[in-house]
């Protein structure tokens, strides 16, 4: 574990030192970029829980970012900007959505599960588009950022950055504990060998559903953070290509690792940023890169660095 501790020590120090460094160098853009990376790291961590550890190929995870974002955005639209209330609702609503979608989807497996989770996300996306009151498919600006009774001012880029950093570390730590707990063991067992798990006396359904709901709730938190970050609410949060991006973050970073989501979010977003700087048609390069990554680099960054398997 020494390698891992070293990594986290360095990561926390670097991330904490970024804001003063960025401001000193007069490059506030990096503050923005890394904050975005960390928000997506939270989203990727939530997906890692069910996909990386649980083996549940949920292709609809962006839905929960959308639900979280919309919870905050809609409340703000009606003048309710109390952050505690907004974020609690964001987490609660996404958990509920995950419970509903999971209850149906988890009865299936394999290709069916993939397609069904995708279909439900798309359903929510179309729902978002049809809500003209909240901007329809153009989306709308966030009226005000969430207010936390003076504790944290989200309008201050640096304060917001540190809040995101703290929340990301919290989420990663919670995932770490959940995965090693008895609950996590059942989830990992169900992924490793479902028949054996049933033979031994466990019914995976309830546990998988619980994991799905937890992942949804975390995704909702990421959504609440994202909408505050962009100060703009749009159904594109729930676009299925977003779900694909999240899956790539989990894979590139290294599935079923604690550092994976952070590394994956960094890798994908930095690559996208670099490529889009070169050419407007960066996706024509990214696409094949992703294909190659899947074919040749399945273990991901953390998988290659930290986990020596046979």
């Amino acid at each position: 574990m020494r390698k891992g501790q070293l990594f986290w020590g360095a990561a926390v120090v670097l991330l904490a030192a970024l804001p003063p460094a960025a401001l000193a160098l007069q490059q506030p853009f990096y503050l923005d970029l890394v904050r975005r990376v960390m928000i997506f790291a939270i989203a990727a961590a939530s997906l890692n829980l069910i996909l990386g550890y649980g083996g549940m190929v949920s292709f609809g995870h962006a839905a929960y970012l959308g639900v979280g974002g919309y919870a905050v955005g809609v409340l703000s639209h009606y003048g309710i900007d109390n952050g505690w209330l907004q974020w609690a609702l964001a987490i609660g609503a996404s958990a509920l959505a995950a419970a509903a979608i999971g209850a149906i989807s988890i009865r299936t497996s394999g290709i069916y599960f993939i397609m069904i989770t995708l279909a439900f996300t798309q359903m929510l996306y179309y729902l978002g588009i049809s809500l003209d009151e909240y901007g329809g498919d153009d989306g709308m600006r966030l009226a005000t950022r969430s207010r936390f009774s003076g504790l944290v001012d989200l309008d201050s880029p640096v304060a917001f950055y540190y809040l995101v950093l703290a929340l990301m570390l919290l989420v990663l730590y919670l995932s770490h504990r959940i995965v090693r707990s008895r609950f996590g063991r059942v989830i990992r067992a169900a992924k490793s060998n479902e028949a054996r798990t049933r033979a031994v006396g466990l019914s995976p359904y309830a546990y998988k559903l619980a994991a799905f709901v937890i992942a949804g709730a975390m995704g909702g938190l990421a959504g609440a953070l994202l909408v505050n970050h962009t100060a703009y609410l749009t159904p594109e949060f729930m676009n299925w290509t977003r779900s694909g991006e999240l899956m790539f973050m989990v894979i590139l970073g290294g599935m079923a690792t604690t550092a994976g989501p952070l590394l994956g979010a960094f890798a994908l977003l930095i690559v996208e940023d670099l490529l889009s700087g070169w050419t407007e048609h960066w996706q024509v390069i990214l696409g094949p890169l992703l294909v190659l990554a899947v074919v040749f680099f399945k273990r991901g960054i953390a998988g290659s660095l930290f986990h020596d398997r046979e």
Partner: protein, 304 residues
């Protein structure tokens, strides 16, 4: 009444197009166990080829033939270059890799033809209306689509039920390893099946061009509806694809046309205005959820 008939025919037309896409996709799922998200890209390629070739050659039949051939070529090239390595991989890898392919194809099309929608037309002899009944005129082109779709369905049924190739397909859908063990050239079979699927998707695309919008990303919009069709119909089953497609096509079309007025009559106009479009767009997914609640493997699941 005329309105209802018109929408039913529209639903049939959408259903038939969904079937063309779903048939290929469900065969590839069922026989090769391959999740291919880039199927929608082949639809898009068909639409673009047809539109561009018609403009270039001025002959619609020639454009159709070349577009089909072109899509087939693109499909087979994709299979040989990118998809062969994925047959042995798990579904997650396939989803991610084909997702990468979607990004590639969408952007490639944008490079060649721009991001804005391009204009796709039909020749004069296919435009215009047909008088089906008193006071009921329906676009000829849409009837042509329905006719083509039903013809293809019939052809597929014939091939699958009555030919040796069809027998191999049915056997492969139900037990892939056994078919390979029996000495059948699996590679060739896979390529043929994939090619057929690509051609069908291309056909759907070129038919769709004049009616729907031809732009990058058009494939993904229909793809997800196709997924719903396959889930409802059952993976690996062409019959399931057929009935599922017709069901989804009619439910979606009728829902979009009539849900708002129905709600307005039952609830209130304002409620209908708000909830109508939203509910209509969710209808086929609710249908899918309902089917899955009763039959988790779809209505006509092919696998034992």
């Amino acid at each position: 009444m005329v309105l209802v008939l018109e929408q039913i025919l529209n639903g049939l037309q959408l259903g038939v197009m969904l079937f063309l896409m779903a048939a290929g996709l469900t065969l590839v799922f069922g026989i090769m166990n391959l999740v291919n998200l880039a199927h929608g890209s082949l639809y898009m390629v068909g639409a673009y080829f047809a539109a561009a070739l018609y403009q270039w050659t001025g002959s619609f039949p020639l454009a159709v033939l070349l577009a089909l051939a072109g899509t087939l070529a693109v499909g087979i090239a994709t299979e040989v270059i990118a998809l062969r390595t994925l047959y042995e991989r798990d579904h997650l890898d396939q989803v991610l890799a084909t997702f990468g392919l979607i990004l590639f194809f969408n952007e490639l099309v944008a490079i060649l033809w721009g991001r804005a929608a391009i204009y796709s037309t039909v020749p004069d002899y296919l435009s215009g209306h047909v008088e089906l009944a008193a006071n009921f005129r329906y676009p000829l082109y849409r009837l042509v689509i329905v006719a083509v779709g039903l013809a293809v369905a019939l052809l597929l049924w014939f091939v699958v039920a009555r030919t040796r190739l069809g027998m191999l397909i049915r056997a492969g859908a139900s037990n892939r390893t056994m078919v390979a063990a029996l000495g059948v050239n699996i590679r060739l079979l896979y390529t043929i099946v994939f090619g057929c699927g690509a051609a069908l998707a291309g056909l759907a695309g070129l038919l769709a061009g004049p009616i729907y919008v031809v732009q990058p990303g058009m494939g993904e919009l229909i793809l997800i509806q196709v997924f719903v069709v396959i889930v409802i119909g059952g993976i690996g089953s062409i019959r399931g694809a057929f009935f599922g497609a017709l069901l989804v096509g009619t439910v979606d079309t009728l829902g979009r046309a009539f849900l708002k007025p129905v709600l307005a009559a039952v609830l209130s106009p304002t409620a209908a205005e708000a909830a109508g479009p939203a509910l209509a767009s969710m209808l086929i997914y609710l249908l899918m959820a309902a089917v899955l609640a009763i039959r988790p493997r779809g209505l006509f699941a092919a696998r034992a």
